[in-house]
């Protein structure tokens, strides 16, 4: 369970560029929750992810994960139990290292029992092979290839595998399919759905696709000006359509939705 209690963050305080990115955000995610987050550009979605992942410490408030206070736990210590995917498929993997080596690094998280000088064993290799086969991209036969040779979609699928190979307590997906071509995006999204459902992973996903925001997962959050302005789940969410969501946005923020990408994505209705 993730508890976010009155988290605030202001960037560049005291300058003309002062920006209140998070404004007393409160959110409780229960185990197995799959929440999607929508919001205009600059609403604070990625900042919220940064706060959860520990890219910076909040100015106010605290974070708790499974009853443990993680507000001031450093980023690399948190990532033991927080999986994270970025929009840029190139960010999640090391291009000059092989698929196998990348997986080995991700596998570190589970390997409290192995020492820092242990190498990739035959058993690890077999396990990696098995996991790669599940992606259905033929990567299991290219384990000695540098990751830089893979396509964006393949790299994102690999990053997804790396983030979930050791089941994380929470998975953060920051528009992880937005930079992929439509067919690949569908494939990576299907993989995401399957892995999250199979492992019962608690998941937060930023999306710019309104349909996706309502279809995927069990809960939809809407952010505006550093606040969560709308939080819907269960019966109420099932009855909603994209127009309802846009209406609710206008009502809560007092302004029309100002994001072309979102408006476009509602029309195409992917």
């Amino acid at each position: 369970m993730l508890t976010i209690d009155h988290i605030s963050k202001t960037f560049h305080p005291g300058t003309v560029n002062e920006k209140r990115a998070l404004d007393h955000v409160c959110l409780t995610l229960h185990d197995g929750d799959f929440a999607t987050i929508v919001g205009s550009n600059g609403a604070g979605k990625s900042t919220l992810f940064g706060a959860i992942a520990g890219s910076f410490y909040p100015d106010e408030g605290f974070l708790e994960l499974d009853g443990q206070d993680i507000t001031f736990v450093r980023e690399h210590n948190r990532s033991k139990y927080i999986g994270r995917l970025f929009q840029d498929p190139l960010m999640g993997t090391a291009p000059h290292m092989t698929i196998e080596e990348n997986l080995a690094i991700a596998y570190l998280r589970a390997s409290a029992h192995t020492s820092f000088i242990s190498r990739i064993s035959a058993r690890d290799r077999a396990f990696f092979r098995e996991q790669l086969a599940l992606l259905g991209m033929g990567l299991e036969d290219r384990m000695k290839n540098p990751v830089g040779l893979l396509s964006g979609g393949q790299r994102q699928a690999l990053t997804l595998l790396m983030a979930t190979m050791v089941t994380p307590k929470i998975l953060l997906l920051d528009e992880h399919t937005a930079a992929l071509d439509p067919a690949t995006a569908v494939k990576v999204l299907d993989l995401t759905k399957r892995i999250v459902a199979e492992r019962h992973i608690t998941c937060l996903m930023v999306t710019h696709n309104m349909n996706q925001a309502l279809e995927l997962g069990s809960r939809t959050l809407m952010m505006d000006a550093g606040r969560i302005v709308f939080d819907v789940s269960g019966e109420e969410r099932r009855g909603m359509c994209v127009d309802d969501l846009l209406e609710r946005f206008a009502a809560s923020s007092g302004a029309a939705f100002n994001n072309d990408r979102i408006l476009l994505s509602t029309e195409t209705g992917e």
């Binding site: 992942a53 890219s55 450093r74 980023e75 690399h76 210590n77 948190r78 990532s79 033991k80 999986g83 994270r84 970025f86 190139l90 960010m91 999640g92 993997t93 090391a94 291009p95 000059h96 290292m97 092989t98 080596e101 990348n102 080995a104 690094i105 991700a106 570190l108 998280r109 390997s111 192995t114 020492s115 820092f116 000088i117 242990s118 190498r119 990739i120 000695k144 290839n145 540098p146 990053t159 790396m162 983030a163």
Partner: protein
């Protein structure tokens, strides 16, 4: 004969010693993607500490003392870069500057010390046998064995979880942070190893030349970079770490050959730094130069073809 056996032998021997500095830069510059300019001072430090301990202790002990001194130097550079967020180039320069005084102090505030008449690792090793062949080639054999051992150890290490994490740190830092690896720690560990290798090279060159000089390391970083870049032209397309490591040593030995050739061509010793600088510049610029030339060729071919079409 233009190149005598003696010249080739010396080029191989010194090439292997300088190759260790190139390996050190391979770790900091290529793998960690960090510009560590403390190499010059660190190399002299290894030499000074090595000379001191050779004189007052034992040459083998001197080797380990130099490695320890190098590791310490790398550690300080690393801490400056990570904990105190000093830019990597600046951190190296700061350490390098400070080391000048440290090195003088180690040598008892003299600008050089000689270790003639005391046994060195090379003389001890040479004394193992009286055979003519051994007397002639023992130093090269010792250095080859040492370099092979180091390459194997480094190859093993870079495949371990810690080694992989260090490589990933230089390759993709967002990925590293998302994988519960502390990039700062990895940079410090990497620079310690790099410093240790430089210190070792300093110790060996001191015992090889039987002297230590405060200016020994000046320009070392350029020389090592030249060796590294020459070596990497062999392993550019390879993904095999072992070959990458070996090619660095080969690059260093090739570099020494080029210098030997310059010597044979009566290039004055004073001009050597300029020669090194030119080699580095040419080695780095060569691929780009080739690309420019090929564009030029394509363009003139295209222009000719167009002129022909017009002529018809």
């Amino acid at each position: 004969m233009f190149l005598t056996a003696g010249i080739i032998q010396t080029a191989l021997e010194t090439g292997l010693i300088y190759g260790l500095v190139a390996l050190s830069l391979f770790i900091s510059f290529t793998i960690l993607n960090v510009c560590d300019l403390s190499t010059d001072g660190c190399y002299t430090l290894g030499c000074a500490v090595g000379a001191l301990v050779t004189l007052s202790g034992h040459p083998v002990l001197a080797v380990f003392a130099s490695i320890a001194a190098g590791v310490l130097s790398g550690f300080i550079t690393g801490i400056l870069q990570t904990t105190f967020r000093v830019q990597s180039i600046l951190a190296g320069i700061i350490v390098n500057t400070g080391l000048y005084t440290v090195n003088l102090a180690v040598m008892g505030f003299k600008s050089n010390i000689a270790i003639f008449g005391t046994p060195t690792v090379f003389s001890l090793w040479k004394g193992l046998s009286d055979g003519a062949f051994w007397q002639e080639w023992s130093a090269l054999i010792l250095l080859l064995l040492l370099a092979a051992l180091l390459v194997l150890v480094l190859h093993f290490f870079l495949g371990t979880r810690l080694g992989l994490s260090i490589r990933a740190t230089g390759d993709s830092s967002p990925m590293v942070r998302a994988s519960s690896i502390n990039p700062g720690f990895m940079i410090v560990v990497g620079l310690c190893i790099s410093g240790g290798l430089t210190g070792l090279a300093g110790s060996l060159i001191g015992q090889y030349n039987k002297m230590s000089d405060i200016n020994l390391g000046t320009g070392m970083v350029t020389i090592a970079l030249a060796s590294l870049i020459i070596g990497q032209t062999f392993s550019n397309r390879s993904i095999h770490m072992l070959w990458k490591l070996v090619s660095v040593l080969i690059g260093s030995m090739l570099y020494r050959f080029i210098i030997s050739l310059a010597l044979r061509l009566n290039v004055p010793t004073e001009a050597f730094k300029l020669v090194s600088a030119l080699i580095v510049a040419v080695a780095i610029a060569a691929p780009q130069l080739r690309a420019l030339l090929s564009i030029q060729r394509k363009r003139s071919a295209e222009l000719r073809a167009r002129a022909q079409r017009k002529g018809k």
